[in-house]
Every structure is written in structure tokens, then in C-alpha cells.
């Protein structure tokens, strides 16, 4: 599941870099599990109606439309802001002052280290906001400009992946580096090449290329000579560090392929655009690519 709000651009309003580097590898764990109901924040539940909100907090001190049917409601004296959608009612709650309350025991003003120690590493960082995903909802943490203290805490609905993103060969939950290591380990025994297939399920050409890999004219040769690792780049917000490790083949878009020797050396890359005709390619043409990469590895 992608870690993003249903109204993700609202996050652009909160532009302070989250110090992901400062978080490091922490062993903490979230106090919720996927399937748990989201906690009440400031006494409000996600999905609360406007009547319920008005009853709990009174009239907002400020109101700003941030999209069709979507409003950001400000309660400055309480240190609270809400994202309210006509379609989904209360979509997110933001705490911007320490006295506003807590989410899972954390408050504005707590140290970033304490968040990481308590909750571990976030699921992702989007627009400078750390996103902890719990099934269908997310907790957001933004640090202050010194990257030491929590400046904002939020609770919101998670976006559902579109059908196009959810179905396909690219697994958003896979650990690409572990998958590559495992493939190289096996290849050191059987001497197959490792084919890194960078792509995304929303990318038509990536789907077409994957289908061509399974074409009867290709699959036999591919299976005999290559071990394929699908690497999901999401919306270019995932595994780009892995791409950089191998010369940033995704810089011009996906699909992008890197072929590794069993020792992990780059044998071939499509950074030169050699796969750009994938959509109109035939199985025989893809087979020629694969043959040329095998030949390159033997040189």
C-alpha cells in the first residue's frame, strides 16, 4: 500500500524536511497494527461529520479551500487543523501545538529521536513529512527546521492505490536490495545473470515488457540465462537509491533494465535508451536483447 494521503498535495503545505537521516535504524514499533481502528485525535474520529466537528471544536477560526470539495479548517487557539472533505468528511487531523493533544503518546515538541525510538523508522517520507502507515490510515510527523523537534503530528486516511498500481509484477512491499542479494547469491552457484527490471505497475511499457519476458519465444532463454528481479519505483518515490547504485538507469523513465554478472558487476544497462521501443517490440526482438547481454557478459 502506498503511503500517501488521499489529498496528498495538501502535504505540500508542510514543507520542512523530515530528518530521516537523524532517525537512523531504530527498533521501535508502532502501537497499532494494520486492521486497528485509527485512534481518536483531539476527541475526533476520522470520518467525523461536520456537525460532530463543530460540536467538539466550535466554528473554525480559519477556513481555506484546498481543492474541490476539500477544506483546511484552522483552530489556531487550540493548535489543531483539520482536513475536511465533502466526500469523506473528516479526512485528516493535524496537531500543531503541544497542548493540542497526542497521537499514540507523542506530542508536538517531543524530540525526533524519541519518535524514532518509540515508533521505529517511517514507512516513507513524502514532501518532507514522515509517513507511518497502519493499514488504511497513516500517522504523519514533521520536524522543525532544526530537525530535532516534532513540529506537526497528523492522522489521516491512506490513499488507496489505483487498480493500475495495485495489480502487476511490481511489488511495493518487496525489499529490492534483499531480493538483489538473494539473486546474486544463487547466481554465484548457477552462473546466471541477474536482470534488474525497474518499473511500476502503472507504467504501460513496463507491463508490456513483463509480458514479453513471459512470451513463449523469450521465456525459455530468459529462464535459462537470467534471474529476474522486479524493482518497483512507485511514482518515482521508491527504490531510487537502488537505481542510483546501478548508474540511475531510471533517470529517463521506466522500464529500465540493468544486467548484473554473478559478481554484481554491471554487464549492460538500458540507460542508453535501448529498450525504448518495448511497447512495439516483438518477442524475437527482446530475445535479441537478451542474447546480446549474454554475449556481453562472456566477453
Amino acid at each position: 500500500m502506498r503511503a500517501a494521503l488521499r489529498v496528498p498535495l495538501v502535504l505540500a503545505a508542510f514543507r520542512v524536511a523530515f530528518a530521516s537521516a537523524a532517525v537512523g535504524q531504530q527498533q521501535g514499533a508502532l502501537p497499532w497494527r494494520a486492521g486497528d481502528d485509527p485512534p481518536l485525535v483531539a476527541g475526533l474520529a476520522l470520518g467525523a461529520s461536520r456537525t460532530t466537528i463543530d460540536s467538539a471544536l466550535g466554528q473554525p477560526e480559519r477556513s481555506r479551500s484546498v481543492g474541490p470539495g476539500v477544506q483546511l479548517l484552522g483552530y489556531g487557539s487550540r493548535g489543531i487543523a483539520l482536513l475536511y472533505s465533502e466526500a469523506e468528511s473528516l479526512a485528516a487531523v493535524y496537531l500543531i501545538a503541544r497542548e493540542a493533544g497526542d497521537i499514540g503518546g507523542m506530542r508536538v515538541g517531543d524530540s525526533g529521536d524519541s519518535v524514532a525510538a518509540r515508533w521505529g523508522n517511517p514507512s516513507g517520507v513524502q514532501d518532507g513529512v514522515a509517513v507511518y502507515q497502519v493499514g488504511r490510515w497513516v500517522v504523519l510527523v514533521r520536524l522543525d527546521s532544526t530537525r530535532s523537534r516534532v513540529q506537526l503530528l497528523g492522522l489521516g486516511r491512506a490513499a488507496e492505490e489505483s487498480a493500475a498500481e495495485a495489480e502487476g509484477p511490481f511489488d511495493s512491499t518487496a525489499n529490492a536490495r534483499q531480493d538483489i542479494e538473494a539473486a546474486l547469491r544463487e547466481s554465484r552457484t548457477d552462473h546466471k545473470l541477474v536482470l534488474l527490471d525497474f518499473g511500476a505497475n502503472w507504467c504501460l511499457d513496463c507491463l508490456v515488457l513483463d509480458r514479453l519476458f513471459r512470451d513463449s519465444t523469450v521465456a525459455g532463454f530468459l529462464g535459462a540465462n537470467f534471474r529476474v528481479v522486479h524493482i518497483d519505483v512507485g511514482r518515482f518515490d521508491r527504490n531510487l537509491d537502488v537505481s542510483r547504485t546501478y548508474g540511475s538507469p531510471t533517470e529517463g523513465g521506466v522500464p529500465a533494465v540493468v544486467v548484473l554478472s554473478p559478481a554484481g558487476d554491471v554487464v549492460a544497462t538500458t540507460r542508453d535508451g535501448s529498450l525504448e521501443s518495448a511497447r512495439s517490440a516483438t518477442g524475437a526482438q527482446i530475445l535479441n536483447f537478451l542474447r546480446s547481454w549474454v554475449a556481453a557478459a562472456r566477453r
Binding site: V7, L9, V10, A12, R62, S63, R64, S65, V66, G67, P68, G69, V70, S162, A163, A164, E165, A200, N201, W202, C203, L204, D205, C206, L207, V208, R211, R235, F236, E251, G252, G253, V254, P255, A256, D272, G273, S274, E276, S277, A278, R279
Partner: protein
């Protein structure tokens, strides 16, 4: 307008890698040169998609990313629901996508109330899409415009008038027609009824579901003043209790109209 954050996709041909990166050109075009309290106005966002490339509709189908727009406005200005032009149905290698090619004009209507302050109003639209040509890449862009605030509304801007054909073609709910949706086992039958002015002569129409599912081409049957068509569940699966989407025919639905696309939003009986 700030530069695109990521504009690296190359679209036209493999040789294009050596050329300038392909980008979607975005422009915001206001209906009026100035706004005032108590009024309403529209802003069009024109997306020029590079040749050989496409971007996705709000429901991109089996591949692609949805194109999105989020407006930020000052207090006193409110945005209504954005009108999206209808897409093309693209079927490549068995994958059905709903795409925009060439120019797409997206229109949002705004209302202005008396709480608007200042001599001008700043509006900003944050857009995102996935640009696909021979490769695919997500892109974002922001367009901004500043409109003077005057007591009396201003005349329509000249550039707006040039958009008239695109605006008239936007899908809309027709006040002359009623739409009824009835569940029939594994399909939903739509009946578009009531107007003696209906002139549709197309044998088929394409239904683009708004939320999820893929576009289907369905037969259109005339029954007196009504037309009926049957949507398979593949087109309505995400909203079994409601049918929402755009129905595009080869010809206008009504006399005197250029509109080939009807916005459909009906509770399934």
C-alpha cells in the same frame, strides 16, 4: 510558473534521448480579467501533451497515473468540482487505458464571497500526472495566476474565447435528459430518457467509469424517445450501488449541442 521537478521523459522516439526532455506544457487561463465579491468565474488549465506521449484521465484504466489538480485560493474564493474532458480509450498489448493526447482543457468554476480582501487574488493549481511515451515518468507542475479584485466583473479574456470549443465539449449532466440505472444480474442497464430533442444516431458509445474499472464500448438502442445501453460489471464493479462516469458517443446527444459526452452519476435501482 516554476520548472517541472522531473521532466526527463523522452517520448517521440528512441532518438529523442539526445533531444530536449519532453514536458507537458501547462497554462492557467482565467475566464475574466478581474473578479469581484458576489461573482463567479472559471479558470481553465490547458495541458499540452508532447507528440507521441499521453497522460492519464482521472481514472487511468489498467495502466497510467491519474491526472490530479488541487487549487489553493485566498479566503473568500471557493472552488467547485473540476470538469475533466473525456479521454480516449487506448488499448495497447491488451491493456486498456484512458488517456489524453494533444491538448486537454480542465475547467474549474470558482465563486467569490464578500470575505475576499485585498486588491488582487492569488490562485494556484498543483497538478500531477504520469507522462508515458516510450517510457513513463511521473511529473508535477504548479501554475499560478493573480487576478485583480474589482467591484464590477470584467469582460471575458480573449484567450478564454479561444477555448470555447473545448469547454463546450466537456462532459456535463444534461438537464434535458434523465438517466436511470437498473441492475440486471451481472450488468447495469442505463436508460437515457425523456427528451424529444435527442438525436443520437450512434450505434455505440464508450462508457468511461470515473473511479475504477476500464472503459467499455457498448451498443446503443433507441426505444421511442429513450436510448438504452447495458454496462457489464467490468465497467461498474467498484460502485455496484452507483454508476458514475462519462458516456461518449460518436455524435452529439441533443439537437443544437456539440456535446458528445454525458456525465453519468446514477444510483443503481
Amino acid at each position: 510558473m516554476r520548472p517541472l521537478a522531473a521532466a526527463l521523459a523522452l517520448c517521440v522516439a528512441a532518438a529523442a534521448r539526445a533531444q530536449a526532455p519532453a514536458v507537458v506544457q501547462v497554462a492557467a487561463i482565467p475566464e475574466v480579467a478581474a473578479i469581484g465579491p458576489g461573482g463567479a468565474f472559471r479558470v481553465a488549465v490547458r495541458l499540452r501533451v508532447p507528440e507521441g506521449c499521453h497522460i492519464g484521465w482521472v481514472n487511468p484504466g489498467q495502466s497510467g497515473l491519474p491526472t490530479t489538480i488541487a487549487w489553493q485560493m485566498p479566503t473568500g474564493v471557493s472552488a467547485e468540482e473540476t470538469q475533466w474532458p473525456y479521454p480516449e480509450r487506448d488499448e495497447t498489448a491488451g491493456f486498456v487505458s484512458h488517456v489524453y493526447r494533444g491538448v486537454a482543457v480542465v475547467v474549474t468554476r470558482f465563486t467569490v464571497d464578500s470575505s475576499l480582501r485585498g486588491s488582487s487574488a492569488d490562485l494556484r493549481a498543483d497538478l500531477s500526472w504520469g507522462l508515458c511515451g516510450t517510457t513513463c515518468i511521473p511529473q508535477r507542475e504548479t501554475v499560478a495566476l493573480t487576478l485583480p479584485v474589482r467591484p464590477r466583473p470584467a469582460e471575458p479574456a480573449a484567450e478564454w474565447r479561444a477555448l470555447t470549443p473545448s469547454i463546450e465539449a466537456l462532459p456535463a449532466v444534461s438537464t434535458s435528459l434523465t438517466v436511470r440505472a437498473v441492475a440486471l444480474g451481472d450488468s447495469v442497464r442505463l436508460t437515457i430518457a425523456g427528451s424529444p430533442l435527442i438525436v443520437l444516431t450512434s450505434a455505440t458509445a464508450t462508457f468511461f467509469p470515473l473511479r475504477s474499472g476500464v472503459a467499455v464500448v457498448v451498443a446503443v438502442r433507441r426505444r421511442g424517445r429513450d436510448v438504452t445501453l447495458t454496462l457489464p460489471t467490468s465497467a461498474v464493479r467498484a460502485l455496484p450501488s452507483r454508476v458514475a462516469g462519462v458516456l461518449v458517443a460518436g455524435r452529439p446527444w441533443l439537437v443544437g449541442s456539440r456535446r458528445r459526452a454525458l456525465a453519468i452519476d446514477a444510483v443503481v435501482e
